[in-house]
Assembly symmetry: C3
Homo-oligomer: 355 residues x 3
């Protein structure tokens, strides 16, 4: 990395991607189809291995003597906990920073110095940060830091994985969403996916949309209140890639023929201090009990969670096989195992270990 930090951050996403290679996970747009297919296969293999004590112990010996840092400057339950479980499953030791007030940032240290410091002590950093550029900054710092990881005969920078950057990117969620869709639907090609809710600041929906280009024939429908519609940066990428997408006025309008419905929450944490509780889901973009009846038997209802009132709570009590979001959570563990395995070069050995 010869660029200065400012020069690197000034590059458009598409020009950052070739510099990132396989040394960081910052954007869904950095993944090619072959990598996605491989990650899904490794996730499936790891899941299968973990079912037996013998296989779980094999998996737990794949990445020994390594320390993973989970640096979450924003609240998280799922991403934090699934990365933690995934790391443990591969043999990582783990440490977390969740309150920057307890770190040296409270003494005035810059983010870049903090990252440089973490690089001195850990072997991979998973980070969630409100600053859009935080993960890219960390990647830049890792690329230039003197401390490297031995990876076979190469020496490589400490990998950085975004666990959610500002309101724009959540690439590992997109990976697990694709894995979930593939498990439920068999294949994504030719399918119709309805995304609902806060698509403007919903980094999960944005990142998932960025993967659509990899699945020929996959159609996207966006159902969102006007103020929360998908931003042009994403729709421009879809247009450039020839992805078939459309806006629909309400959730109900998008249900017909949908193979998957991807609900999201109004991300009102970006709206500043709240005075009167959470923003309720707009009724036109709320998934009701009756909508479930309109879904095909093979279809699936997803949500990156946490949810509030945008899905009728009664749906949780139905035990309907189309309710996929609790499975989606668990899929996150195995996709994150796959991602870490890939970054540390043990994906092959996991694939080969499945009988």
């Amino acid at each position: 990395m010869d660029l200065s930090l400012d020069a690197f951050l000034a590059l458009p996403e598409a020009e950052q991607v070739p510099l990132i290679g396989d040394r960081a996970v910052l954007y869904a747009s950095q993944f090619e189809r072959a990598t996605l297919d491989r990650l899904c296969a490794v996730a499936e293999a790891a899941r299968s291995l973990h079912r037996t004590q013998h296989g779980a112990t094999f998996l737990g010996g794949r990445i020994p003597n390594r320390m993973a840092l989970n640096f979450f400057a924003q609240p998280s339950s799922r991403t934090f906990m699934s990365f933690n479980t995934a790391q443990a499953a591969l043999g990582f030791e783990r440490v977390s920073v969740r309150d920057v007030g307890r770190s040296s940032m409270s003494k005035g240290e810059s983010l870049i110095d903090s990252i440089r410091t973490y690089i001195s002590y850990v072997d991979v950093i998973v980070m969630r940060h409100p600053d859009e550029d935080a993960a890219a900054t960390a990647f830049w710092a890792a690329s230039r830091a003197h401390r490297r990881l031995r990876a076979g005969k190469r020496e490589v920078p400490i990998p950085i994985i975004s666990g959610g950057s500002g309101s724009k990117h959540h690439p590992t969620q997109a990976l697990l969403d694709v894995y979930t869709l593939q498990r439920h639907l068999g294949s994504l090609e030719g399918r119709t996916l309805l995304l609902v809710g806060d698509l403007r600041r919903g980094r999960t929906a944005r990142s998932l949309a960025q993967l659509a280009r990899l699945y020929p024939g996959l159609k996207l429908r966006f159902a969102a209140p006007e103020a929360y519609q998908m931003l042009p940066d994403i729709t421009a990428q879809l247009d450039a890639a020839g992805v078939d997408w459309e806006r629909v006025p309400t959730l109900a309008d998008g249900l017909s023929g949908a193979d998957a419905v991807y609900m999201t929450r109004i991300q009102d944490e970006w709206d500043g201090p709240k005075t009167d509780g959470h923003v309720a889901a707009h009724p036109d973009f709320r998934f009701e009990r009756s909508h479930l009846d309109q879904l095909a038997d093979h279809a699936v209802l997803l949500h990156p969670l946490p949810k509030r009132d945008e899905i009728d709570p009664a749906i949780d009590e139905l035990n309907d096989p189309r309710v996929g979001y609790w499975h989606q959570e668990r899929n996150g563990v195995w996709m994150r195992v796959a991602l870490l395995a890939w970054l540390f070069g043990v994906d092959d050995v996991i694939l080969e270990a499945v009988p």
Copy 2:
């Protein structure tokens, strides 16, 4: 579990117990004498094994490839740390949630959704929560969640262990208290136990009293300011079980013939914001240096800790063998090892490993 959550929570404790079986630890009242004796034996066996490197390593291999969550929404030192050490001693990986502001609950997620989520990622949940019903709610969620643990040929729900629920229940403290009494006194049968302090909101004293019915001849004395007396729900249980109990006006009045004194702190954290420091112990319910002289040589002074001024601090400097509360703390590790071993079906193998 076919009941709705509301229906389950509406059941009296005694009717919840048969539904809990051995899949959660919510109430002291759920334990039978045979289980208590077994847990004490396993605690003793684990302690003995851990004394050698060989035994400690054996113990540390009993529950591999499992993740324990310590979810403490209220402050804790002892319960948190002893569970953590107990889990490590058996081979668990561990993760904790101690600040719900860092979890997705800060985004408006319900407790039940949070628990469902944790169930996706971990294999046992130890939880402390200010809400009386939180642990029971978690058990209900675990009973209905699709994710199960393989336990031999069965598939069982993720176990839930209450590490303190509201002001009512602290079952694992009661277990370690019984273990401590047994170690100091040889047996609890026919003994006299004086409980002192805030018996109304002292969940440790309440839970311990619930176990009295299992030890024939065990007599209870309650010394508490009127405002902090043992509540009728517990005394009614004692009456129903034929336990011999009485109220005594002051601590001094209850000392004569006592085999054990169980001190507790005024639980003023339930009184709302404090403006002028902690509530001092009432002088009639404070254990003074002079009281120690009135205790029999075989007797023991216990306290679930933390303490403030309800025990004369000079007593800590005496090195008197009757001062049992520091031993009591350490006993908590081994009883919690025993409890986890029992829940995960490795209690037999631990018992058999002791030469």
Copy 3:
């Protein structure tokens, strides 16, 4: 330990040292040269072993079945994280307390009772505390606690390691600083070390100065604003030990012939609430780009970090071999491995394992 806590704390540092022996790390002044040389050798051996998977696994099996507590009541990134990594490298399980509001201290428990409690659950305590006497108090508590560690045929108190006590002591930082100087300069004897910044409340500079007596011919220069000059307690120790030291008016005045420059930050966290951001470094005590040109080729620029503006940020971009503070961070891991190995008696076996 027969002394009362008050009597122990009233002893001057020099009279506490013989009572500490090798059972705690409280003061840089407690170390003799032979111990320092041994610790540096073990640090180097551990680092070398860790480079191979085989060596790292050997190291990770040295201290099995032990729990380390990192109890940091003040913010920390480096000390916390390097101890955590060092503990993992030796095989420790780890638990941390970073927010005393989540511990029983929030219920009014005394520090000494909290420490006694931790001793019940863990096998070594690393602690950082704003109270000058906290670590010494913890050592006293450990010395008198009934719980002991088996160490060969001895039973010893749970070791206490200060990770920073008030504004006075940071002994393990001084150890890693000496290790860093030795790695960069070959030897400290006859060298000239310039310490710059807040020497009054800079516990790292104070502790490092205390080690100067062990290296014949090592000369110290102190460059600090008048309000932040090195306090007489340290200069009196230097005088008593015959160390050659002087004050210089500005950083620039001390550069000539300096083999190492040790920068520190204005420790304004001790100044009470800040209303208008951090205190800027005084221009006369700021390390500028131009100062680097005045340093000898073999010289090294150190900083315990975190830094703010007391070093020109452009220096980080130069990749100059004299910029040593990022290496210094990493050295902290290995020195802390060495220290733990020494306290747990596995230093010899690590030294012998290097081919």
